[in-house]
Symmetry: C2
Subunit: 254 residues, 2 copies
Amino acid sequence: MNEQLQPLKKQPRAGKAGRSGTQDDIVYAHIFEAILEQRLAPGTKLSEEALGEIFGVSRTIIRRALSRLAHEGVVLLRPNRGAVVASPSVEEARQVFMARRLVERAITELAVQHATAEQIADLRQMVNDERDSFSRGDRGAGIRLSGEFHLKLAEAAKNAPLISFQRSLVSQTSLIIAQYESGNRSHCSYDEHTQLIDAIEARDATLAVDLMMHHMDHIDSKLNLDEESASDDLHAVFSHLLQTKKPGRPTAKL
Amino acid sequence: MNEQLQPLKKQPRAGKAGRSGTQDDIVYAHIFEAILEQRLAPGTKLSEEALGEIFGVSRTIIRRALSRLAHEGVVLLRPNRGAVVASPSVEEARQVFMARRLVERAITELAVQHATAEQIADLRQMVNDERDSFSRGDRGAGIRLSGEFHLKLAEAAKNAPLISFQRSLVSQTSLIIAQYESGNRSHCSYDEHTQLIDAIEARDATLAVDLMMHHMDHIDSKLNLDEESASDDLHAVFSHLLQTKKPGRPTAKL
DNA sequence: CCACCCGCCATTGTGTACAATCGCGGTGTT
DNA sequence: AACACCGCGATTGTACACAATGGCGGGTGG
């Protein structure tokens, strides 16, 4: 249980208060990234003390980060029993996807109305980054970036509550993808993202929404959400009950 | 430093094992209620130490409660400068209402499909409570209960992310109503709620959604969201900037 | 031999002390 | 007289110490 996550020591105050500055955000971002990259498997226990030692901060900071992660649904906080990486059930995954369809449709319509040229340029840049990550074979970064694409799109919709909800949904989706994806394909195929941007730039709401809905279809058609997950995978089936024994072992390959 | 917070007096410390849950929940609920009842005006500073003394708990607990309130959007947390009661701008209010239309439509459709007889009975009970509150003249409780009605409806939709989002939206809506309502009328007219329940019980999705959308229309038609808020009301206009000078003064009557 | 009970240990929950930060008011200079 | 700078007080941010809770294993009785 010594440092596997060595890199992060306390940053001198170089970062300014606005952005990645505070320690909370650093810890949050690192844990989140580790979960997406599956360095932390679903069900893994997240001990406050261990994390505090790893990041060189006190439990107070860790606790805040975990609380935030819990609110976004990627970590489960069990009273008196510590935090574990969430392991969404198939039913939970379905609920998340249903909500996402709803939100993505609205976001797309609003983005068509409100997206600025600069935002569209940013979106294109993000798709490039995403493609690069996948071509580098960096699956975790790819999943994260494709999530950030959808989040950026939400920003273009100019509706703060929707952005916040979308952040939570994207986080959970990323976790679900990391957990359930039948690893044969790219996740959010970036060409779908490109087409979507084109439709938004052309201010074609009907087309954009249509593309987005198909995009959603593609995403969950790539997942193994259809009750097949029972066979080789007792761990995943019960991982929401266990508090995890040995984090060292990558429970299941799927 | 003058106690206008005293209605929430400190629970004798022996009884801190409140049935309604952990101390956090108690503090959270009390502050939330105080905000809705406008005992805490928008912009009022929420000092951790003062609150801690009032509730007889340490700043740790207060901090968690404030953090939760901040996440739901009824409290604004300014780094190094403390927490204040949120004062949603007209634009923010519009965004909340737009998001609510979206979510309420989806919730209504889902509730028509999934609501159980027991849930419908619960809903009717809540409408009764709501009516009682208004007839008692307890405006704050009325606003809160009508919010809880919509939240209960969300539970009937059986979609966890939507429930969580709805909780946040309802909280903010309640704050907006408390802030902007032209006090001449009941807020969520409870007969609209009753009709809605009837439609859901009859499993008439079209009617239910229609009623819900009209209900939304009625709610924001009762608000003064149409830029009239500029005249008598410098305080409200800038309250998101100030940290509040004297909480003793009920900034504006509206 | 198995099951139940009890006490120990690990981990989280809470309170509190201390450090850092920000706003504000006093003071000096132009 | 007005502006700017500096030190002070108040309040939040962080760390840590202690209390409480729950799990787990040893031990004992049936």
